[in-house]
Structure formats: C-alpha cells, structure tokens
C-alpha cells in the first residue's frame, strides 16, 4: 500500500487528480476533495501522475518504502515486516 495525504490548505480544487487517478481522488461538491489515504499498490503509477500534475503540489506521497516503525496496534505479522 502507498500512504498519501493531501495538504488541503494548498488544494484549490483544480481536480486534476480526480481525472488522473479516479480510484484514489474524487471531488465532493464543487471544490471539496475526498481521497483514499491508503492507496493500493496497483494505483502507484496513476497516483504519481496525479501528484505530479497537481497545480499547487498539494499531494504528499510516501517516499519511504521500508517503514521503521512497527504499529503496536496491528498484527505481529505486519509489525515484523515493518512495511505496508
């Protein structure tokens, strides 16, 4: 999975992301944006295109593959792999 966040202070509702990666981003109302914060690996390419196309560069995408923290609230299997 790829983790993302959108800086909605920056976002101005240009909707480029919703065109380029509709499985991840959707407009909600005229200029609101809803997104899936945990994106399926299969969407990685589309996600990269959407992030690059954002006119205000508001989309933050995981830059780190192997995560150095075990989420103590999750299953041990996930904790051991240390990555999602």
């Amino acid at each position: 999975m790829v983790r993302i966040a959108v800086d909605l202070n920056r976002c101005q509702g240009y909707a480029q992301c919703a065109f380029l990666a509709p499985e991840v981003f959707a407009m909600h109302g005229e200029e609101g944006l809803l997104y899936d914060p945990d994106v399926d690996e299969a969407q990685r390419e589309k996600l990269a295109r959407a992030a690059a196309a954002c006119p205000v560069q508001a989309i933050l995408v995981d830059a780190v593959d192997a995560v150095d923290v075990a989420d103590a609230g999750d299953t041990p299997a996930e904790a051991v792999s240390g990555a999602r």
């Binding site: 999975m1 790829v2 983790r3 993302i4 966040a5 800086d7 909605l8 202070n9 976002c11 101005q12 509702g13 909600h28 109302g29 005229e30 200029e31 609101g32 944006l33 809803l34 997104y35 899936d36 914060p37 945990d38 933050l60 995408v61 995981d62 830059a63 780190v64 192997a66 995560v67 150095d68 923290v69 075990a70 989420d71 103590a72 609230g73 999750d74 999602r84």
Partner: protein, 463 residues
C-alpha cells in the same frame, strides 16, 4: 554555545527526544534528519499507532470511503528513530534533562520537542459518558468505533456542539441518510470561529440538508436504558431527543498535565514558546533545549501584536515542526521565527470552507465576492481598520489574494473595487462574534495574552 563546537557535536552524537508521535512529531523528526542530525532520535507516543492523519477521520472514514486504521501519514523520508509507542510521557525533569514514561522508563535528552497536542473534551458527566453509544471524535480509534456504529444504522445521531468537527460529523451522517440532531449552545454553528453572519449560512446549510438543528440550547443530561445503552438526551429547553448515538464535540483540551510541576510554562492554554518555538519556563525565561510545536504550543505572532496564539490547525503543526527542528540545530543568529498566517479548511454539506488569518479577532465582516444566500462567497474580517482574516465558501482559489492583504496589514474595508460585489457586500456588517467571555464549542484559534506563565483557563463548560 555556538562557536565552541557544541552544535556540531549535538548534530553528530546528540540525543533528541520528541514527545508526541502525530503530525508535528513526525514532520519534526523528518526535518531533523533532513538537516543532517545524525544522533539518536526517540519518538514517544501514548497511542499504539504509528503517526496518522486526522482530517480524514471526520470525513472519508465516517462516509465509509476509507478505514480509520488506514490513515497513516506518508513518510517524506526515513527518520531512523527509536519508537516508544503506546506509552505516555508522565513527567519532565528539566534539571536532569529526562522525560519520564508511564512504564517507569526515563529517556534522557539534549534537545526535547513537545508535540503532545490536544484531546477531545469528554462529556463532563462521567457515568453518562460511559453509556454505550456515547462517543468523542479525536483519534483513530474514536473514528473507527464511530464509523462501525454508523454502519449499523442507528435510528438517530445526536451531535453535541456545532464547531467544525461536530458539523462535519452531522454532514457525514446526513450523507449516509441517518437522522441527525445537532445541539449548539451558541446562536449558530461555527459561530465561535466565524461569527454570526457566516454562522447563519452554516445553519441554513444544516437545515437544508435535513439536520434537526437546535441552537441556543444545551444538553443537560444523557439517559441510558437498563442495559447501559444511551437512549435519550434532555435539553435545556425542556425537550427530550430520543437517540441511540451521541457524539460529544465540545472542543479540545491541551495535553499538558504531564508537565505539571516540571517548571515549564505549561498550562490549560498550552505551552508558552517564543516565536522560534522555544518553550518558556514558569519564570518567563526561555529555555534553549526545549521546544514545542503543533496544537499544544502557544507562540507570539507578529500579525497579532505578538500576543500568544494557539492554533489547532494541520498546517500550523507542519510549519512549527519545521521551525522547531531548524532552530534546535541552529546557532541563535540563524534561527527562524514562526510567522505563517494561520489557515484551515473544513468540508461539510457539500461546501468547501477555507479560511486564512484569524477571523475570530475580527469585529466586522464585508462580503467581498459572491453572496451569502448562494452559500458561495468570500467574507473579509476587519479589526481596528485592518484586514485580519478571510473565509471562503466554495471560493478557495481567491484566498491567496486575501492572505496577501492580511500579511500586508491592508486597510479594512479593503479599498479595491471588487469584481463581483453583490448587495450583501455593499458595506461592512458587525461580524457578530459571541462575547469572548461566553465560551463556544469549537474555537480552533485562541489568543491568550502576553504572559508566558499564564495558567488561567479560557473555557469552563457550564454543563
């Protein structure tokens, strides 16, 4: 210290501890590594989860479009830290430079960043708060539990408090077709943050979307059935609302109790810092090794006469984290002040609400573009003849322009001839904020005077 090599030594082999493993803590840790800190880094968090993003918790998650467990923040770079998650910090020894943990451990530091944030203010009646079906919404677990309950299709959801969080919850419930009652002690939703003129628009939006909105009323008691499930709420106007889910959205409390007695300038209003995020001690002397960032910090802001300002805003947490990280590793002449103009957003009832500056300091409002009736407008707030804040309903692209007016302390009413002035915007109106001595549910900005050691409370629930 600068010049004697101690800064280089700190960067090479120092010990930096970050208390608070959420947005500010994570971004600060990343910034420290980015700036070449090669020593040991420890992140301490009371929740067992790795850092996650909160805005989706009251929006996507409640709409069923994302899972609360899947909101971890993206990592901008590796932090190579020791993580102490699921264990709260319980004390601070300033003289020895140690953080005490709930499990008895002590973690020594050369530099400390405090980013412990806020928590939801609970329902004040403890036995009622424990009824099954009574929720607050602040963390990942809160959101997951509430989303599960909404999935089960409750008969009616009662939201107590119509600040931003309460209003977003009501919006999500209506979108899912659930019956919703909102009870707000103020005259309108969002009135504490945006005033009565804009609050009236927020009230219209709620009612048009089928919310049973009760303003000027308080919930005086929650009643449970024999099995301990909430079944009704009693209101101050004598009415009773039957409900099986109650979400208490009465704002937040700063997580500073663990610092009591430490000697740090920390209290219910937050941790007093200088403009560079360095914390004050209770004597009003700034420390040089302890910093604060995010919701828990209160910093003097140049735009507001250097009064201390606390901000419960996502962008503020990110910026202060960067400032604190930079200043920790810098000689005094290289340090940076936190000068960013406050900004926040909210999405509710299909409308994108964004704001810059501090509307709640304004006394007047001028609708400069669009119209209140259409729920699509920009309102500019004036304070002592200057522009102090702006709010946009579905007009986000204009806000950078208004931010410039705030940064340049432009006169109010703004002198430009607007491109789109409607009857609403012919002259400034009283912004109609509630008397500041009357608390409201959701103020996300608090101006708290000049005293670094001020420990007075600003909010006293009357429940």
């Amino acid at each position: 210290m600068p010049g004697d090599g101690s800064l280089e030594q700190l960067k090479r082999e120092g010990r930096i501890v970050v208390v608070g493993a959420s947005l500010a803590g994570l971004r600060a840790a990343e910034a420290l590594r980015e700036k070449g800190f090669a020593g040991s880094l420890t992140l301490i968090g009371d929740e067992p989860h790795e850092p996650y993003d909160r805005p989706p918790l009251s929006k996507q998650v409640l709409l069923g479009r994302a899972r609360a467990e899947r909101t971890a923040l993206p990592r901008l770079r590796a932090v190579d830290a020791t993580w102490r998650l699921g264990v709260a910090a319980t004390g601070l020894d300033l003289a020895d430079g140690r953080v005490r943990l709930a499990d008895g451990d002590e973690v020594p530091y050369d530099r400390l960043l405090i980013a412990t944030g806020v928590r939801a203010r609970p329902w004040p009646h403890e036995a009622e708060a424990e009824l099954d079906g009574v929720f607050v919404l602040r963390g990942r677990d809160d959101s997951a539990a509430l989303a599960r309950r909404l999935d089960a299709g409750p008969e009616r959801v009662l939201v107590v408090g119509a600040g931003f969080t309460g209003s977003e919850i009501a919006s999500a419930c209506r979108e899912r077709g659930l019956a919703v009652t909102v009870v707000e002690r103020g005259a309108a939703p969002l009135v504490g943050a945006l005033g009565g003129v804009v609050g009236a628009v927020a009230a219209e939006m709620q009612r048009e979307h089928g919310v049973d909105l009760r303003c000027g009323a308080m919930v005086t008691a929650l009643e449970g059935d024999a099995a301990g499930r909430v079944r009704a709420a009693r209101l101050s106007d004598g009415s009773v609302v039957e409900t099986d889910v109650v979400v208490v959205s009465l704002g937040a409390t700063r997580n500073t109790e663990w610092l009591a007695g430490s000697g740090l300038g920390a209290g219910p209003r937050g941790i007093a810092c200088d403009a560079g995020c360095r914390a004050f001690d209770i004597r009003g002397i700034v420390t040089d090794d302890i910093y604060a960032a995010g919701d828990v910090a209160r910093c003097p802001h140049p735009l507001f006469g250097y009064q201390f300002l606390s901000l419960e805003h996502w962008g503020n947490a990110v910026t202060q984290a960067g400032i604190a990280a930079h200043n920790m590793l810098s000689a005094s002449a290289d340090r940076l002040p936190h000068m960013e103009v406050p900004a926040f957003w909210s999405a509710q009832f299909g409308v994108n609400i964004k704001s810059v500056g501090v509307p709640s300091l304004g006394t007047e409002i001028l609708i400069t573009q669009g119209s209140l009736k259409e729920h699509r407008f920009v309102g500019v707030y004036g304070y002592q003849g200057r522009v102090i804040g702006a709010v946009a309903f579905d007009q986000a692209r204009w806000l950078p322009f208004y931010q410039e007016l705030i940064e340049s302390t432009a006169p109010f009413p703004p002198p430009f001839a607007t491109v789109d002035r409607r009857p609403d915007g012919q002259r400034p109106l009283d912004a109609d904020f509630p008397d500041p001595s009357v608390p409201t549910h959701g103020p996300t900005v608090t101006v708290s005077g000049y005293s670094p050691a001020d420990r007075r409370m600003t909010f006293t629930p009357a429940h």
